[in-house]
Structures are given as C-alpha cells and as structure tokens.
Amino acid sequence: MFYMLTLSHVLTFSALLFTLGLAGIVLNRRNIIAILMCIELMLLAVSINLVGTSYFRADIAGQIVSMFILTVAAAELAIGLAIVTLFFRNRGTIEIDAADLMKG
C-alpha cells in the first residue's frame, strides 16, 4: 500500500536520519573521524528537511538556507579534520578516550 507523499513523510524520514546520526555519536566510542561523519549525517538530515519543506510550500527560501548549511558544514569539517590531524600528531591516536586532558 502506498500513500500519497506528504510533508509528514519527509519530516519523519529526516527525523529518522537525524536520530541515526545522533545514535552514531552517542553509541560510537571509538574514533573521532566517525563522529565527524555522523555530524555530517545530522546536517544532511536538516538539509533534507529544509528542501522537502521548500518543495511542499513552493518556497525557494528553504533551498537557500540549505545552501548556507552546506557552507557551514564544509567549514566545520575543515576545522574538524585539522583538529583531528593535530590531535593525532600530539597523542599518536584518534581514540576518543585519548582526549582525557580535562578528565571529562
């Protein structure tokens, strides 16, 4: 059985994707690169949300904001990977548990 595609379906799907990304961050206790990938996943979920809303409302603003999200994602990833490189140079590993300087 197929339903007519509505905004709710798109929102539900992007909520699922966002939650998957969050689950990746919460449950993954291994390396920092996987966490960066999961952040990208969450940003993608938000982007899908905006583009879907833009389609159903016939308003271009959602796509514009989605573009800004793309920009911020690229910037965040550049800084994040620089920090990962720096972290590996200082600690010799990219384990998350190696980042224990502040006893968190």
Binding site: L17, N31, M37, I48, F68, T93
Partner: protein, 213 residues
C-alpha cells in the same frame, strides 16, 4: 505514485548508507557509506526540484569533503581495528536518549503543526531552479551570502593556522630584512676588464646576514 516510489528508493539508500557509517569499524568502510548516502541525497534533492542543490551536494560532498576525509585517513597511521570498543557501557543510556528523541520528532512530524496536509503548488510558469535561487540569493539573502563567504575564509585560515608548524632548517622569507636592505649592502659597482670577466672579484660590502628562523 512514481515520485513516491522514487522517494522510497532514495530514502532507503540514504538510510542504508547511514547505517553503514555508524556500524563500520573501519572508517574506510564508513567513507563508502557516506558516498552512498550523499549520492542518494542528491537524487532526493533533484526529486524535490532542487536541481542546483543536488548537483552542489555531489560537487561539495563527494568532490571535496570525501576527498578531504580520505586525505586525513591516509595521513593518519592508525590501526583502526585495534581501537578499543567501549560502546557497551553507554548502550542503554544512549538507546534511551536516541529513542526518546526519535519518538518526539516523529510524533511532532505526524501529529503536530506540520501534519496539516499541504498540497504542492502547481509548478507551471516557474522559472528554472537556478534562476529562482539566483534571484533570491543575490537580493534578499545578499548579506548572509557574503557572510557565508566570511565563514569559509575563517575556516580556511583556521585550518592553516591549526596545522601549520614551523620546522627547523626551513628558510623563510623575511620581508622586513628585504625592505630594509640599503643600496650599499645590496649593490656593487664593478668594472670588469675586457676578456677577463669578473673573475674572482667579489662584492666588497656584501655580508650575508644571519638567516632568521
């Protein structure tokens, strides 16, 4: 009916890729999942009429971000299979958090404000997607557009500053010394004789200064 099927196809692809990302022990495999995810997301965007954004997604994510990830993975000499896996200790709390969040989101999406049935406005007589974006982006959103350029510049400078390290033995240009050089120490007038050239004659006043680190 057909767009619904295509939506389901792309959504399944995205979810499979996302599952690959969060389940992969080897980040290289996670990279593969990311590629699957973003190709399908680009398809989804194009299905929603955002052609420009879909192609941009392929260009930025698959062309730039994936390559950046692969560069970092190559430069990091890490045995990924030897990393400790402490996921079990946080599993119950994590599952509760994620489950509650997912339930909230899905309830809000289906029974909240957004559940009102919004019909798609007819797409007739609309200009192309790229024309629409350009018309709005360079007028209404001109300032945020320039600010996003500033964000990218900050990220670039930040990444360079973070990863740059001065190494000993590498000579760098000292602009101050270059500018402060006078004519006497930089220039020597000689009169070579015919057929002999300069020979062993060297500059009298020129003394190499100590190279600054």
């Amino acid at each position: 009916m057909l767009p619904d099927l295509i939506f389901a196809l792309f959504a399944t692809g995205i979810l499979v890729g996302a599952g690959l990302i969060i389940a992969a022990r080897n980040p290289m495999l996670g990279m593969l999942g990311m590629l699957v995810t973003f190709v399908n997301a680009a398809g989804l965007f194009i299905l929603f009429g955002a052609e420009f954004l879909g192609l941009l997604l392929i260009m930025v994510y698959l062309g730039a971000i994936a390559v950046m990830f692969l560069f970092v993975l190559m430069t990091i000499d890490q045995e990924f299979f030897q990393l400790k896996d402490k996921g079990r200790a946080y599993l119950p709390l994590g599952l509760i958090t994620v489950g509650v969040l997912a339930a909230e989101f899905i309830l809000a999406a289906n029974f909240g404000l957004f559940s009102t049935n919004i019909t798609v406005l007819p797409a007739t007589e609309q200009p192309q997607n790229i024309v629409q974006i350009g018309t709005v982006l360079f007028t209404t959103y001109a300032l945020p557009f320039q600010l996003s350029g500033l964000v990218l510049l900050t990220a670039m400078v930040g990444a360079i500053v973070l990863t740059h390290r001065p190494r000993p033995g590498v000579r760098r240009q000292s602009i101050t010394q270059q500018v402060l050089r006078t004519k006497n120490e930089g220039l020597t007038m000689t009169k070579p004789k015919t057929g002999q050239g300069l020979g062993t004659q060297t500059a009298k006043h020129w003394k190499p200064k100590s190279v600054s680190k």
